[in-house]
Subunit: 305 residues, 2 copies
């Protein structure tokens, strides 16, 4: 099966201690679908402007990604600019030009309505809800969100959404903000009571935690000598998870653990170059090698009796 | 075998969002030896004042800990006061009264000179060096340090010490500060070139990483609903590691991984109550239960071919 992703396709300008780059193909749906495509090519629902490069559309198509839901409107493509500090965990947003994204009203085609695996990337909760209502019989729905929606006037829409999704994928600070409690374990357990049966907490360089009613899974971040550009790591992580699940067509705890490791490893590749550069070079062999290495990294023997 | 620990024995006053407590038995050698005693009771080399409670000496003895190196001097015992914020990772030191600790000149007895497993807790690098020179033929020496020594006039002593130890146990920020490079992977690899064959990076609620020339091991922190008092977690971690290694009498990579998991779990117990309270209630069964749970938490299946 192929996952459906609703999110942004953007041009990013990024400054890091290692250099800078402008008008990089980016956005949540871009990172998600390029990661997912390594297991199952996604169907993108997003909007771009008249200035969207045809070579970028072709790039998606070359990866088997369905761009029939990539609407092109008069006006400019969403642009975002950010600057990372020496500590890559700290990022300043330099500018956000919504452009055509401000008018984004996602309408699903008949084919897209039949999607079984759906990822609602970080957009307004109201839009996430509207999209979800158009999907006929989804099997596994995951969503992302951010501080802006958690603390803003659309908070109630977000709470309504949470009761309708299977999985929330957010970072640790957002989980604490959403619930108002310190500590990811308490926060995740509270979120589980609000709807989703699975909560995946992203902790950047510290890895990720997967919480469900009777299970906790932890995967560390793959140890890297250097990080070049963290942009898109979170959406790459989600794309790896959803692409793996949809590709296998299974959401058992066992498959979800494998999917989370895969997502984490794809994020480790993603941050090793600017934009989508490193993600385009990843292949099945590279993923398998880091997967085996990760199994070694966390392995320990039982205690002697 | 029994580990030798050189460090502090103190009375701590602690404020956390959950309450406060004064004159708690604390200090690096205290936490270390109570953790170690669960596998192999340590020999303490430390100094206390005339006000040191005989019940505290008896507590050490009841755990089989050798207090023949616990020197009692006229004057008061080292006292430390700290306050934790709602985010328990942030701590203010309210006061530090060195008292008799200011005159601490550790002299090892003949029996202590024969120690094979030695932990040099966070004291002046000059003192750590002087102690180490008194040990006849150590088999495995680990040390801790802190920002104060890394950035201070004793930095050169610390560099000299690093060339003489087998293992450095420090937190991530200290590793970056010591080497001047961002990122724990690069920092740890630089430290390995400076002497120790093993570098263990403590990351608090994010777990711990063990680096050696050809190996990386990661153990997450045991997921806890709530943390009551983080004081002593780092020394408890070190005490669990050294006690386990000395008890088994082996420092193979396999045993070191088990030891690191044990140390991490003991730290998870430690932070669940004020001071040494929770540590005193831990038994082999409780450790074994969390150990098995941790193995489940990090477990994932290979990728299908």
């Amino acid at each position: 099966m192929r996952p459906l992703v609703i999110g942004s396709v953007a041009y990013d300008s990024v400054e890091t201690p290692f250099g800078h780059a402008t008008d990089l193909l980016g956005g949540s749906a871009t990172y998600f679908s390029l990661a997912s495509a390594l297991f199952s090519p996604a169907r993108i629902v997003a909007v771009v402007g008249h200035d969207f490069r045809s070579t970028d559309t072709q790039l998606f198509q070359s990866r088997g990604i369905d761009v029939s839901g990539l609407e092109q409107l008069p006006g400019k493509t969403f642009r975002w600019g950010g600057k990372y500090h020496t500590n890559m965990n700290i990022r300043d947003t330099l500018f956000t030009e919504l452009n055509v994204f401000a008018e984004f009203v996602p309408k699903l085609s008949d084919e897209h309505r039949n999607a079984k695996f759906v990822f609602l990337a970080n957009i307004a909760p109201k839009l996430q809800l509207e999209v979800l209502q158009q999907v006929t019989a989804p099997r596994f729905v995951a969503c992302d969100t951010m501080n802006f929606w958690i603390n803003g006037p659309q908070r109630q829409d977000l709470i309504t959404l949470l009761a309708k999704v299977d999985c929330l994928i957010i970072n640790d600070e957002e989980a604490e903000l959403l619930t108002g409690v310190p500590g990811v374990v308490r926060a995740a357990n509270l979120i589980l009571k609000a709807g989703p049966s699975i909560v995946i907490i992203k902790r950047g360089e510290h890895g990720a935690l997967v919480f469900s009613e009777n299970d906790v899974f932890y995967v560390p971040a793959y140890p890297l000598e250097s990080v070049i550009d963290p942009t898109g790591a979170g959406d790459t992580f989600a794309g790896g998870i959803m692409g793996y699940l949809a590709g296998i067509g299974d959401v058992s705890p066992r498959t979800l653990r494998q999917a989370t490791v895969v997502g984490s490893l794809l994020a480790s590749f993603c941050v090793e170059d600017f934009g989508i550069g490193a993600l385009l070079r990843v292949d099945a062999e590279a993923i398998a090698a880091r997967y085996r290495r990760m199994a070694e990294i966390v392995q320990f023997e039982p205690l002697p009796l």
